[in-house]
């Protein structure tokens, strides 16, 4: 057979097979069993299952059929599944987006008359996970008492303290959040090793304490977002990136709660899986923020931007955009040193209620010199359905939900130690800039805001500008004389200025106002030591270490105080601990060496 004829026959055969497939796919009815159930299992059932986060299940054909009107509306509008980023080249983990073909399949199921599928076939029961995802956790912590979410009203932003009872530090390989209530719309996991959260919690009789901003001292794990939203899979940290949970630390849950129409008890729990593997890779978090934007009433596209020049080679692991109700679009791009541009994220229809963190399937390499840009578009017109004001009001940056924000947080992993150092320095500079901008904006809103003076004072202290810092902190103390933190920071400024007596007074005020302020006890001890009073210093430093056994400086100072009091045996364990916690503390290392030579252990002297 001539070769051309063979080719023609092959072509005809291929065409026939393709045509048959197309015809069959159009003609064959869509059934729940074969097409719809797998689609629902893939995109919906993580929340829409009995006992799940969604208000109703979608596990049977009848469940889906009777809700089809609502399903059609929300999937066509792209509002369900709740996934904000648009499709892009660099994909995110756990993307929950229905393709156009999948939407079409759903619509065809209706057109084809809601067919169940094979006769006698069991409707596909989508896989419903039971228990904790990774088996028995090493520790489960729970809110000690339930909080009652009110039946109605505005959304609630609240912190809850979950004591861990840990007597040793642990590294967290994975964690899973179980809300136990459909009122939790999103949550962040933080920790507190200084008792700040307990202190705030104790200010009234209700469980937890309010706020969209966490008080200082309550921090997310270093370099991690620790964010949760309904339907999101639990978080397992990449290898070598376990985060440290210190002994005695409390977990703090910062939750966004939506009233459901009836009072709902909330007693959430968090499961933790430990690892013995040390942290070999330390991710960093850097923020692009804009505090200076103004959205005039009626404006439809005010853009808040910020940029960051990447100071060292790193991999971008994930990002977390944040804005409130007036934001309509959020975009982030990277301009690489070779001039090429890469879209990092584009959210075409921002929805505050579905905010969350996004982690890339494959890290995005950002070479040194890459310029990352954030753009947040605001629509402050009446046509923005989420605008909280009617008529619209001029809106600026602020901490309340009816204020606005424009933030993008990046989680990056430096490629080398040198990159880590350069990135760390750049982040510090950026943070100092942001702290000043943020608190100047707070003072613009309220010229008598003691927290703004306090934060500005701290920012100047971090820049070693103690005179400017003291001026601002004196104002903070005047405006908030009961703030132990303001007294503590002013004490620090005086100590740097070598004004030891005023410094001592401020630290004494701080511990009088808050006897649990370990840093104030530590610094009081240091000033007492510097003032030639090692006996008092010993008492103060012991108190500091009772509250925070990880305070390297307090160990070093206590070692020195014992040494000055002629108590070398008591000095040495503290100096050893200081060196262990801060290996670059050469002063403690030298003193320890001297003391060890002068006081050899009895066991060593006799071979």
């Amino acid at each position: 057979m001539p070769r051309r004829l063979l080719q023609l026959l092959a072509l005809l055969l291929t065409w026939r097979i393709a045509a048959t497939t197309v015809l069959r796919s159009v003609a064959d009815p869509v059934t729940f069993h074969d097409q719809v159930a797998p689609l629902i299992a893939r995109h919906c059932v993580s929340c829409h299952r009995p006992g799940g986060a969604a208000p109703f299940p979608l596990v049977s054909a009848e469940d889906v059929r009777k809700r089809f009107g609502e399903i059609e509306e929300v999937v066509r509008a792209g509002r369900m599944p709740p996934w904000l980023p648009a499709a892009q080249e660099d994909r995110f983990q756990g993307e929950r987006r229905l393709s156009a073909e999948e939407v079409q399949t759903l619509m065809k199921w209706r057109e084809d008359g809601w067919q169940q599928g094979k006769t006698g076939a069991v409707p596909l029961p989508p896989v419903v996970p039971g228990g904790w995802t990774w088996g028995t956790p090493d520790l489960v912590v729970k809110m000690p008492l339930p909080y009652t979410v009110p039946a109605t009203g505005r959304d609630v932003y609240r912190h809850f303290v979950l004591p861990t009872g840990l007597t040793r530090e642990v590294r967290i390989a994975a964690w899973e959040f179980r809300a136990g209530s459909r009122t939790v719309h999103h949550a962040f996991l933080k920790f507190d090793r200084k008792g700040e959260a307990r202190r705030h919690d104790a200010t009234d009789s209700e469980v937890g304490f309010p706020g969209m901003d966490s008080p200082s001292g309550i921090q997310p794990p270093n370099g991690h977002f620790a964010s949760w939203q309904p339907g999101a899979p639990p978080t397992r940290n990449p290898n070598g990136m376990a985060w440290l949970l210190p002994a005695g630390a409390d977990l703090v849950l910062q939750a966004h709660l939506q009233p459901s129409g009836k009072p709902e008890p909330l007693q959430a729990e968090v499961a933790l899986w430990f690892t013995e593997e040390p942290q070999s890779r330390a991710p960093l978090k850097l923020g692009l923020v804009n505090y200076g934007f103004v959205t005039p009433r009626g404006s439809t596209d005010v853009v808040a931007t910020d940029r960051f020049v990447v100071a060292g080679d790193c991999d971008l692991l994930g990002l977390l955009p944040h804005a409130h109700y007036l934001a309509r679009r959020i975009e982030a791009t990277a301009e690489l040193p070779d001039g090429s541009r890469r879209q990092l994220v584009r959210i075409p229809d921002w929805d505050f209620n579905w905010q969350g963190a996004y982690h890339y399937e494959k890290p995005v390499f950002l070479p040194k010199g890459t310029r990352v840009e954030m753009r947040v578009h605001f629509d402050n017109s009446a046509s923005n359905p989420r605008n909280p004001f009617d008529p619209p009001r001029e809106t600026r940056f602020g901490p309340n939900t009816t204020d606005e924000m424009a933030e993008l947080w990046l989680q990056v992993l430096p490629r080398t130690d040198d990159s880590a150092r350069l990135l760390g320095e750049a982040i510090l500079r950026q943070t100092a800039r942001d702290v000043v901008a943020y608190n100047r904006e707070r003072l613009r809103m309220d010229p008598k805001d003691p927290v703004a003076y306090l934060n500005l004072g701290k920012a100047f202290l971090s820049r070693q500008q103690a005179t400017n810092a003291a001026r601002l902190l004196v104002r903070a103390v005047e405006l908030a004389p009961d703030s132990d933190e303001a007294h503590y920071q002013l004490g620090l400024a005086y100590r740097i200025l070598n004004a030891l007596e005023p410094a001592k007074r401020e630290f004494q005020d701080a511990v009088r106002l808050h006897p649990g302020n370990s840093r104030a006890w530590g610094n009081l001890g240091l000033v007492e030591l510097e003032s030639g009073d090692p006996a008092s210093a010993t008492d103060s430093l012991r108190k500091a270490l009772e509250m925070d056994p990880y305070d390297a400086l307090a160990h070093a100072a206590l070692g020195s105080a014992f040494h000055q009091s002629g108590r070398a045996t008591e000095a040495m364990p503290h100096l050893r601990k200081a060196v262990e916690l801060a290996p670059d503390d050469t002063e403690s290392r030298t003193l320890l060496k001297v003391l060890e030579q002068a006081n050899p252990p009895s066991g060593k002297s006799s071979p």
Binding site: E70, V74, P82, T152, G261, P385, R386, D390, T401
Partner: protein
Amino acid sequence: MRGLPGGLTRRDFLAATPALALTACRPLASPTGDTVSTLPPLSGLDGVRRPLPLKPGTRAVVLMTLSVDCPISNQLLPDYRELARRHAAEGVSFHELYPNVDETDAAVADHRNAYGTGSAVWRDPEGEWTRRFGMTVTPQVLAVTPDGRLIYRGRLHDRFEGLGVRRPAPRRMEFAEVLSRFLSEGHPRAVETKAIGCRIRTSPRPAAR
């Protein structure tokens, strides 16, 4: 000027306040001349069908549709009950109506155990009321005068702008505004707004005879 269902006149429609969106200037699907007393009976939770009771002096009859598992009607239920409490002494008769055909009496009873009890509760599984008054979703508020004239049909307030589009708080308490105006003016203006919620699931429409 007759000719519009529900005892409505064209003037009623035209007089509706322009501040509220008239989503459709079309007649309501209520038959001409019906009064609340002559409307079909509704089912109580005991399964017994009875006409909606009307106390002497009633100036308005208000219903809100509910579903046992619609998050929107659940979230708005306390606001509706608060409104009922505020107007209880003003001759306004408030009712809660479960229209879905697939919700059993037991499911409705469970729902009320969970969400508490408020106004009188009814079921309309045959869809006689919802079809008659063109009610399509839960929650949807219907307010009529005892002689069957429309005061309001639509959403309680504008906290929800679409399925999945939720404001931090309502901007307009639309039904409360209309009701207050009706109580002060004494005549209905037939205001209609678009209700946002879960589709009502009724039994198939009876075949035409």
